[in-house]
């Protein structure tokens, strides 16, 4: 029932980003409650006979009462993880062929990830960048961290052009603990350049997830007539494009780009996921959880 709240167009009508994140995650969790693998609270692992020196707090007194023997109830050990979200706010992210722009969608995803991390007591951080680092919220589990994150996300506006090389050098300075790095961007750059820029993050033991956020009109452009396209990141650059070209040649190129980025990312141990802004958000969250579970 709550799945419908994961629809981007529906979320766009919700004013508060915290409410958006709560709606998404709660709806997402409710949709997954039947999953046998799911569970990020303390999970039962095994019973073990008491040995001297064990903490008496872990003795299962119910068992002791019935059997008159001391057993310890063991839980699966949990490790707090660190989540760092890199949100691209370049001008191209402001594109949207429907009410939800790519940046809006990315904000929803980022907010939802932050909320989910907060629920799991993961330290979450945020870096907002275009060709410069626009904002940085250091990962933390402190009280009020979620609201700081959401506030930063809320303030994110489309900026100038994308330049991966420059901000990513700074990112490496921010990463002191290994954790999960989520990059939300449209990746309008050559795959090799992207991988080359992002790969150093992987060296520190981070799990890097590339979420390529694209509008349906970018994946499969549909024009009824020739149009004059103006580059959002460079207003001086404009091209008149025929519907035939957009329907055939462009699609081949964008598909090749997506495929190239995907394969290059995987070959370098990076996780890649294409996010269509017309699709529900849960697909992106599911990808994040799959990666996180792998780390446990």
């Amino acid at each position: 029932m709550l799945q419908r709240f994961l629809d981007p167009a529906t979320l766009a009508s919700i004013s508060g980003l915290d409410l958006v994140a709560k709606t998404v995650v709660d709806g997402f969790v409710a949709g997954l409650h039947r999953s046998p693998d799911f569970g990020f609270s303390q999970e039962f692992a095994e019973y073990r006979a008491y040995c001297q020196g064990d903490d008496l707090r872990h003795v299962d007194w119910n068992v002791f009462a019935r059997t008159d023997k001391c057993f310890l109830k063991k839980y699966r050990g949990e490790t707090n993880s660190q989540l760092l979200i890199l949100l691209d706010t370049s001008a191209s992210m402001g594109f949207g062929s429907h009410p939800v722009t790519k940046l809006d969608y990315s904000r929803f995803v980022a907010a939802s990830l932050c909320y989910m991390a907060n629920v799991q007591r993961d330290a979450a951080g945020l870096i907002i960048f275009d060709e410069e680092v626009a904002n940085y919220v250091a990962p933390s589990t402190r009280q009020g961290q979620l609201f700081r994150l959401l506030h930063a996300i809320e303030k994110a506006e489309p900026g100038t052009r994308t330049d991966f090389a420059k901000p990513f050098i700074h990112f490496q300075n921010f990463l002191h603990r290994r954790g999960i790095v989520v990059v939300l961007s449209d990746f309008y750059e050559q795959p090799d350049t992207i991988i080359k820029t992002v790969e150093p993050l992987r060296f520190r033991g981070n799990e890097v997830i590339l979420f390529q956020v694209l509008d349906p009109q970018e994946i499969k452009p549909k024009f009824r007539e020739p149009v004059l396209l103006v580059d959002m990141e460079d207003a001086r650059s404009a091209l008149e494009v025929s519907p035939e070209y957009a329907r055939e040649e462009y699609r081949r190129k964008i598909d090749a780009h997506i495929e190239g980025l995907s394969s290059a990312a995987r070959s370098h141990g990076l996780d890649y996921f294409l996010m269509n802004t017309a699709r529900p958000l849960d697909e992106g969250l599911r990808e994040y959880l799959a990666v996180r579970r792998g780390r446990l």
């Binding site: 191209s92 992210m93 594109f95 790519k102 449209d186 309008y188 509008d215 970018e218 549909k222 024009f223 009824r224 007539e225 020739p226 149009v227 004059l228 396209l229 103006v230 580059d231 959002m232 990141e233 650059s237 404009a238 091209l239 008149e240 494009v241 025929s242 519907p243 035939e244 070209y245 329907r247 040649e249 462009y250 190129k253 964008i254 780009h257």
Partner: protein, 669 residues
């Protein structure tokens, strides 16, 4: 090339629509922000140009389509050259009016002189024919280039008493042109009376190869007095003074007093003065006419002193005869309504019949043949000899009126003479319907023709008979036939299903009873009450079916036999062509004196306006052709159909091409 509706060309402004759609709207490129152009190339321009070329073809088709639709509305035409109509072998037709109005002054003589001068001016080899017209058209000569027969035909023209009919002339000219298949030039010599024009102008239409030249003999109206009408009885049966009413009309005259004289058999009876108002009518009443026995020639004439004396006299015939006997048979124990019947006949105005009453027993020694008609009023059984005589009498042309009552039921259940079966007696008692009324009347039946106000008549008893093949003229509310007319041989038997005695009905107490009895008596006695005079060119019947082969003598107003011997033996009708008295002597002794008068519309000498004559001439394009005939003619040939076919073809092409573009768009959508 021209346009029948050129103002529709303003619709060409609609071309702006495809221009806007294709050239303005299509080329107006709105910049569309896009996230990145890294996957687009400049070579897409050529594709756009190619696409524009394709759109240009669609644009051209649509523009042409709009233009052609506008063109279709403007009704384009081209002038089609028609070879000049040659008027070679043209025939000149001289049409001379000899109607009554041509008797005025020297009109006919002038017309003949003008026609003769035209004949004299004909070139050698130029053919002509002469015809005269009034209400009929008579061709007096063959088509010839010989002037002698043409002049002789003109000389032979005599004035008639008929009225002018230009419609008849046009019809004849059309017929002549059709039969000769040659161009005609009709020279019309007439006083061009306005009254000769038909009510429907289309009747004057002439063929395209007929050229009409009018030669009006008068151009302005002449004053004329005429005796327009005389009202007098056709027959009188007593020696009372007869009343005669004459109407004097003045056409184009000023107020004047005229002496009006009533004559009978050539002897002046009375003269009175009539004051005729300006262009109006005056009525003169004569009350002192003593009509002698026999058929008399009456005349009313005025001293008009105008140019047309032919209409100054009006003829009427009046006959004095003894009342004809009629036999009224009733039962001895009741007079069967004799009083009512006889009183009604006398109240009708003229004592045309002398009713002889008689009981059933007295009929044994009577012969019905000497009676105008026989009435059997509510009788039982008739003596066999008398009934046989009655049957022979009816077969020979006699007539019987049968009234059915309570005694009729004793007659073997049958109606006397006709033998029709009596089904039942219909009583109206205290229960149910108190009385019957007539619900259906055949108003064309002579007995009912003049007065059909039978609604208030109450019928308390009626005898229902089976009418068989007889004509039912009236029915009661329960569909009982009330008045039935059965023809037997040459005669009629009229059955009235009730009585005349105010017992079975109250019919005798109503005024309509008088009209019924009078009209029925006249119908049975075959006493027609036609007008005392008829107009020239009307017809009269000369014989009935049983008089076939017997000679009928007709003496015309000039005292000559109007029919040849062959016609006298065979002719069914005669047409009265002259004004005056026609004496018709039939083999059965039914002689008749018919007064014939000319149509008084001829008395109005007002000529038709020149505009009317010009319109008549233009009904044939003869005049126009005569002017342009040498150079030929241009006839507009409409291109509408061709344009519409082109529109259809273009629409199909546009649909096909447009669909191709739309299919691209739909895939993109």
């Amino acid at each position: 090339m021209g346009f029948l509706a050129p103002w529709f060309l303003a619709g060409a402004a609609a071309i702006g629509l495809p221009i806007w759609l294709h050239l303005l709207r299509k080329h107006k490129t709105t910049p569309l922000p896009f996230s990145s152009l890294m996957f687009f190339e400049k070579r897409t321009q050529s594709s756009i140009k190619h696409r524009r070329l394709r759109y240009l073809l669609l644009f051209a088709l649509r523009t042409l389509l709009v233009l052609l639709i506008v063109l279709a509305f403007a009704r384009p035409f081209v002038q089609q050259h028609i070879p000049p109509r040659t008027r070679s072998n043209e025939i000149t037709v001289l049409a001379i009016d000899n109607s009554l109005s041509m008797r005025a002054g020297k009109r006919l003589a002038d017309a003949k002189a003008a026609a003769k001068s035209l004949v004299a001016s004909l070139k050698p080899g130029e053919r002509a024919e002469v015809l005269t017209f009034s209400s009929r058209v008579q061709v007096l000569s063959e088509v010839t280039d010989d002037h002698a027969p043409l002049n002789a035909a003109i000389d032979s023209i005599e004035p008639s008493d008929s009225r002018t009919s230009f419609a008849e002339l046009s019809r004849s000219v059309r017929s002549i042109a059709k039969s000769l298949k040659l161009p005609l030039t009709v020279h019309l010599y007439s006083d061009m009376q306005q009254t000769g024009m038909p009510p429907n102008f289309n009747d004057l239409r002439l063929n395209a190869d007929v050229k009409l030249e009018t030669h009006p003999l008068v151009t302005k109206e002449e004053p004329n007095f005429a005796v327009e009408n005389v009202v007098a009885p056709r027959r009188v049966f007593d020696n009372k003074k007869t009343r005669v009413l004459a109407t004097i009309a003045g056409f184009g005259v000023h107020k004047d007093v005229r002496a009006v004289t009533l004559s009978l058999n050539g002897r002046a009876v009375e003269t009175k003065n009539a004051e005729v108002p300006d262009i109006g009518r005056a009525t003169v009443e004569f009350n002192s006419l003593d009509v002698p026995y026999g058929r008399n020639k009456g005349e009313v004439h005025i001293d008009s002193a105008d140019s047309l004396p032919a209409d100054d006299v009006f003829y009427f015939s009046i006959e004095r005869a003894d009342p004809r006997p009629a036999l009224f048979v009733h039962e001895a124990d009741g007079n069967g309504g004799l009083l009512y019947f006889k009183t009604a006949l006398e109240a009708a105005g003229q004592s045309a019949f002398d009713v002889t009453p008689g009981t059933v027993d007295q009929t044994t020694n009577l012969s019905p043949s000497k009676y105008a008609f026989v009435v059997l009023s509510d009788i039982g059984a008739l003596p066999a000899t008398f009934e046989n005589q009655l049957r022979d009498y009816v077969r020979g042309g006699g007539s019987v009126l049968v009234a059915l009552g309570r005694h009729s039921l004793n007659f073997g259940g049958k109606v006397p003479v006709t033998g029709q079966k009596i089904i039942e007696t219909r009583y109206s008692g205290r229960e149910g319907d108190r009385f019957q009324v007539t619900t259906w009347l055949d108003t064309s039946y002579p007995s009912i023709l003049k007065d059909n106000r039978w609604d208030d008549v109450k019928f308390l008893r009626a005898i229902r008979i089976d009418p068989g093949s007889a004509r039912v003229a009236a029915k009661l509310s329960d569909q009982t036939p009330l008045l039935v007319d059965q023809q037997i041989g040459e005669g009629h038997v009229v059955v009235f299903a009730s009585t005349f005695d105010n017992i079975d009905n109250d019919f005798p107490l109503h005024s309509s009873f008088v009209a019924f009895v009078d009209q029925t008596a006249r119908y049975l006695a075959r006493m027609d009450s036609g007008p005392p005079s008829v107009v020239v060119d009307s017809f009269a019947e000369l014989r009935d079916s049983k008089e076939r082969g017997a000679a009928v003598d007709v003496v015309d107003p000039k005292g000559q036999r109007a029919l040849s011997l062959d016609e006298a033996a065979k002719a069914q009708n005669i047409q009265f062509t002259m004004a005056g008295f026609y004496d018709i002597r039939r083999p059965n002794g039914r002689n008749e004196l018919v007064a014939v008068n000319s149509d008084r519309r001829e008395s109005d000498l007002t000529p038709a306006t020149p505009d009317t004559l010009s319109l008549w001439q233009n009904t044939a394009n003869g005049t126009a052709e005569a002017d342009t005939g040498a150079a030929g003619d241009q006839k507009p040939l409409s291109l509408w159909w061709y344009v519409m076919l082109a529109v259809l073809a273009l629409t199909v092409a546009e649909s096909l091409l447009g669909n191709r573009h739309l299919s691209v768009d739909s895939e993109a959508a």
